[in-house]
Amino acid sequence: MTRSIDIGYRGGTSRFYLIPIDRKKLHGFKRRIALDENGNECASAHLTRDGRFLLRAGSTSDLYINDKGDTVRRSELVTVDENGKPLKKFSATVGRTELLETPGDLDEFLSHIVTKVHALKAETLDSELEEALLDGAIFRVSYRPRTTYTDSSTFLLTNGHGIFLVQAEICSFDFVGLEQTISEVEAEWDDGEDEEFDFEIEWRNDHALP
């Protein structure tokens, strides 16, 4: 089912359908496979470190357990911060009209990295909103497809290819002066950062939590 979003701007309302886009959908992709001596593609599996068990897909269960070793249902999990304090819940915005205010500025948008992109297909497009977007406005939208515990940033913008809804995460870089040198080993390089985001992986991650 295609998701939709209703956007209100200066009294007018527009409705868009969301089409997720990523690098794979635009440029294709490649993956590495392994073949056995007969040229058949091999499946992958996990071998426990003691070598006793070969675990193929579907052979394990992911679960949460508490201090007593009891399983805790995902729907019962309480999300907390590093101090153990329950986090504020941000409810999903699905089904409500997002009211746009004044456009944000460029620097605000540049202080984020993109995590998801949706191309928008307009069912109805208010002329004032269209005009503002064509003038280069970048609007901040409170878009949350599901309940979350971390407030995210979403932007609405257009270019010659269409209108896009861009979900993003803040990256706070400070100004640095001469005395603020950094050694080669001081900053930890995070090689785990996704090379490209994948909607399937994102979907699985999103659905791993209540």
Partner: protein, 237 residues
């Protein structure tokens, strides 16, 4: 782990190898049960190679016999093993007989945007090109910020930092120049400095743009990396 470096050229014909600092990710959230007791994630063994779907189907011959066996008993559960913590595991390839392979040939399969296989080839390792042997070139391709951010999806960003006074002068000058131009400059590989950047071995090629700002005697220089352009896919949705 040591910080990664990038070899950069500037508008004055100077070049330096400077540090790339990743963004600070927001702190990870954790979970408790309803009573406030902390919970942890665990991966438990559910089935082994003798009790998984394939093995059971092979043992009972056909789905009906297997279904009857599942009704009559619990052949899918190895009571000695089910529920054990899987712990750390190594990833292995398994052959058609379900046994681990000690050697396998690797191939790289290329798919088009619709997910159709279009080519197979021997995999080749493509190294990172952030610090090339030859001096990098200043691309000179300055683009207004407004145009750049509406054209590309910047999926990564790294701050460029100095590790000594000479590098500070180099980077501060570059940041001030970009700020005065109110533009971002294309940073890339190759003889013209316009080719894609590959951050890690076999990483995806990305388009890099440098954004600079200054505040008094301080600067902020950020390398924004785009994995793709903002445009609609050609396939039907």
């Amino acid at each position: 782990m040591p910080c990664r470096k990038i070899r950069l050229a500037d508008h004055r014909g100077r070049e330096a190898t400077v540090l790339l600092v990743p963004r600070q990710k927001p702190p990870d959230v954790s979970y408790t049960d309803p009573s406030g007791s902390p919970v942890r994630f665990t991966r438990r063994i559910k089935a082994t190679e003798t009790t998984n779907d394939t093995a059971l189907l092979s043992r009972y011959g056909d789905p009906d016999s297997l279904a009857q066996a599942l009704i009559d008993g619990d052949p899918e559960i190895d009571l000695q093993t089910a529920g054990r913590d899987a712990g750390s595991c190594d990833r292995v390839h398994v052959g058609a007989d379900g046994q681990p392979l000690y050697s396998a040939r690797s191939f790289e399969v290329i798919y088009d945007r619709n997910g159709n296989e279009i080519a197979r080839r021997e995999p080749e390792n493509i190294p990172s090109n952030l610090v090339p042997d030859a001096p990098p070139q200043w691309s000179g391709k300055l683009t207004p910020k407004m145009d750049v951010i509406r054209r590309y999806a910047f999926t990564r960003a790294y701050q460029i930092r100095h590790s000594n006074g000479l590098e500070f002068d180099f980077l501060f000058g570059l940041a001030r120049y970009l700020e005065e131009c109110n533009s971002m400059v294309l940073v890339g590989s190759g003889p013209k400095g316009t080719g894609p950047l590959i951050l890690e071995r076999n990483g995806i090629p990305m388009k890099g743009f440098l954004e600079g700002r200054t505040k008094g005697d301080r600067y902020r220089l950020v390398l924004h990396l785009a994995a793709f352009e903002l445009k609609r896919p050609e396939m039907s949705s």
